[in-house]
C-alpha cells in the first residue's frame, strides 16, 4: 500500500498513442494523486480505454513519458485491471481467483487466505465451488473484482465495469470499489455513466477526441466544468470536433 504522504502517483507527460495510423491520444498531460477515486470520462472514441491501458502497461506510448512516483522503499507499484467483459476461465470461482494470483508464487496458505478474503469482500463465498462460466453477468463481474483484489494491488483500474450490468449488480460493484478506495487503494475508473461518476469520483479527467481537455476535482467538474466539450457532454449534447 502507498504511504498517505504521497500525493502524486502517476504523471503523463506529452503522451501520444497511435495504432494502425489512427491517433487515439494526442499530447495528454496530467498527474494523478495516490488517494481516492479518479474517473476518466468522455464521449465514445475519446480514448478512455486506451488511456487506462497505458496506465496498466498493456500498451506503450508512441511518444511522451509515463512516470510512476514510487514512494521511498517501495519496490514497484502493482496494478490490477478489470475489463468490461471479463474473461472467465473454465473452472470454479475460487480456482479463477487462485489462478489470478498464481504468477505471484505465494505459499499455499497465504494464497488460500487471499482467495478466501476476496470471496468475502465480493460476496461470492456461497459460489466458491460453482463453475464460474455458469454465473450471471453481475456475479462474473464480482468475480473479476475478486480476482483483482486478491492481487492486493496499489492501483485498481476499472474499464467500464458496470456497462453491461443491471442496477443491483452495478450497486454491488460500486460498493466494492468504494471499499477499496477507503482502504487506501487508488481506484481509476473509466465510465460513460455520468451518474456513476457523480457517485464515485474524487476527481475527473475529461477526454475528448484523444485529448485530455480537463482535470478537475469532482465537485467543481459536475457543477461548473471548465471546458466547453465537458459542458456539452454533461448537458447531453454531442460535440463534433475536427481532430
Amino acid at each position: 500500500m502507498l504511504a498517505p504522504e504521497t500525493t502524486a502517483l502517476a504523471s503523463f507527460q506529452n503522451v501520444s498513442y497511435a495504432s494502425a495510423g489512427d491517433r487515439l491520444l494526442s499530447d495528454v498531460e496530467f498527474t494523478i494523486s495516490g488517494r481516492g477515486i479518479t474517473t476518466i470520462m468522455g464521449p465514445n472514441g475519446a480514448g478512455k480505454s486506451t488511456l487506462l491501458r497505458l496506465l496498466a502497461g498493456l500498451l506503450s506510448p508512441t511518444s511522451g513519458a509515463i512516470t510512476w512516483h514510487r514512494p521511498a522503499g517501495a519496490s514497484r507499484i502493482e496494478s490490477a485491471f478489470v475489463f468490461q467483459r471479463p474473461v472467465i476461465l473454465r473452472r470454479t470461482v475460487s480456482a479463477n481467483i487462485r489462478h489470478a494470483i498464481s504468477p505471484l508464487r505465494l505459499p499455499d496458505t497465504q494464497a488460500s487466505n487471499r482467495v478466501h478474503a476476496a470471496l468475502l469482500v465480493c460476496s461470492l463465498e456461497h459460489l466458491r465451488d460453482a463453475p464460474a462460466r455458469r454465473l450471471s453477468g453481475g456475479e462474473q463481474q464480482r468475480l473479476a473484482m475478486a480476482r483483482a483484489l486478491a492481487r492486493q494491488p496499489d492501483v485498481l483500474l476499472l474499464d467500464e465495469p458496470t456497462a453491461s450490468l443491471d442496477p443491483a449488480a452495478t450497486n454491488a460493484i460500486e460498493k466494492i470499489a468504494l471499499a477499496c478506495a477507503d482502504k487506501g487503494t487508488k481506484v481509476i475508473l473509466v465510465t460513460h455513466d455520468a451518474g456513476q461518476a457523480r457517485r464515485l469520483s474524487n476527481d475527473v479527467i475529461f477526454l475528448n477526441a484523444g485529448r485530455a481537455v480537463e482535470h478537475s476535482p469532482a465537485t467543481s467538474f459536475f457543477n461548473e466544468p471548465d471546458s466547453q466539450s465537458a459542458r456539452d457532454y454533461l448537458a447531453g449534447r454531442i460535440t463534433i470536433t475536427d481532430t
Binding site: 496498466a56 498493456l58 490490477a80 485491471f81 475489463f83 471479463p86 474473461v87 476461465l89 473454465r90 473452472r91 470454479t92 489462478h99 489470478a100 498464481s102 504468477p103 465451488d129 460453482a130 463453475p131
Partner: protein, 237 residues
C-alpha cells in the same frame, strides 16, 4: 448365407465366446494405439500450444508443414521407421524391429501431426480471447501455456480422439514395422489384412465389425468420463 450375414454371425460368435485369439489381438491393438496417442499428446499438445502463441520467422511455414503432415500415408511412415530400426539402420542396435515398441513409435509419428495441428488451432483461438487478460496478470510463458491447455481441454480431448481414430484404423505402418507376427505383433487391422489375403472375407469382415464396435465403445467411454468430470465440477468436489 451372404458374406455380410456370415460376417455378422461370426462377429457375434467371436465376441460372445471371448475367443482367446481375438482377445489377444484386441488387447494388443488397444495397448499399441492408446500408448501411441498418449505419447503423441504429451509431445503434441504443448508443442501445438507453443506454436499457437509464439511469433517467429517461418512460423506460417511450420504451421503449413504440420498441417500437411496430417496426411502422411501410414505406409510411408512405416517404411521410414523400418529403415530407422532395421539392423542395417541407424537404430538397429536396439533390436526394436518386429516388436510392439516399433509399432508404438510408428503410430506416435502418425498421430503427432494431427494432435499438434488441432492443438495449435484450438489454442490460437483461445489465446486471442485470453491474451489481454493474461497480460494484465503478468502471466509468464509457462503459466500461459498451462492456462490455455487446461481451459481448452474439451477441444483438446477431441483432438486426442481424432488421433486415436487414426491410430487404431491404420494398417500400413504397423504391418511393416511389426511384421504381423502371430501372438507378438498381430493387431486387428493386420489380422484383417491377413484374413483378406487368405480369401477368408467373412472372417475379415467380422474382425472389422469388432474393430468398429471397439472404436465406438472407446468413444462412448471417453464421453462418459468427460460428462462425469463436468458433473464433478458442478457438485463441488
Amino acid at each position: 448365407m451372404s458374406e455380410a450375414t456370415q460376417a455378422l454371425y461370426l462377429a457375434v460368435k467371436l465376441v460372445t465366446s471371448m475367443d482367446a485369439g481375438l482377445v489377444e489381438i484386441v488387447l494388443l491393438s488397444l495397448k499399441v494405439s492408446l500408448l501411441a496417442v498418449a505419447v503423441a499428446c504429451a509431445i503434441g499438445l504443448p508443442l501445438g500450444a507453443l506454436l499457437a502463441i509464439s511469433r517467429f520467422r517461418g512460423r506460417r511455414l511450420l504451421i503449413s508443414v504440420n498441417n500437411a503432415l496430417m496426411g502422411l500415408p501410414p505406409v510411408v511412415v512405416g517404411l521410414a521407421v523400418y529403415l530407422m530400426l532395421s539392423r542395417s539402420g541407424p537404430f538397429g542396435v536396439f533390436g526394436l524391429l518386429y516388436t510392439p515398441t516399433a509399432m508404438i513409435i510408428a503410430q506416435t509419428l502418425l498421430v503427432l501431426p494431427i494432435v499438434a495441428a488441432l492443438s495449435r488451432q484450438t489454442i490460437e483461438d483461445l489465446n486471442a480471447e485470453y491474451d489481454e487478460y493474461l497480460r494484465s496478470l503478468d502471466m509468464g510463458l509457462i503459466g500461459r501455456l498451462k492456462t490455455l491447455l487446461w481451459d481448452g481441454r474439451a477441444s483438446l480431448a477431441t483432438a486426442a480422439i481424432a488421433g486415436l481414430g487414426r491410430a487404431i484404423a491404420e494398417v500400413g505402418a504397423v504391418i511393416i514395422v511389426g511384421g504381423n507376427i502371430d501372438h507378438v505383433t498381430r493387431v486387428m487391422t493386420t489380422a484383417i489384412a491377413l484374413e483378406t489375403s487368405k480369401g477368408d472375407l467373412a472372417l475379415a469382415l467380422a474382425l472389422g465389425l469388432v474393430l468398429v464396435t471397439i472404436a465406438l465403445a472407446l468413444n462412448a467411454a471417453v464421453e462418459i468420463l468427460r460428462a462425469g468430470a463436468e458433473r464433478k465440477l458442478h457438485a463441488g468436489a
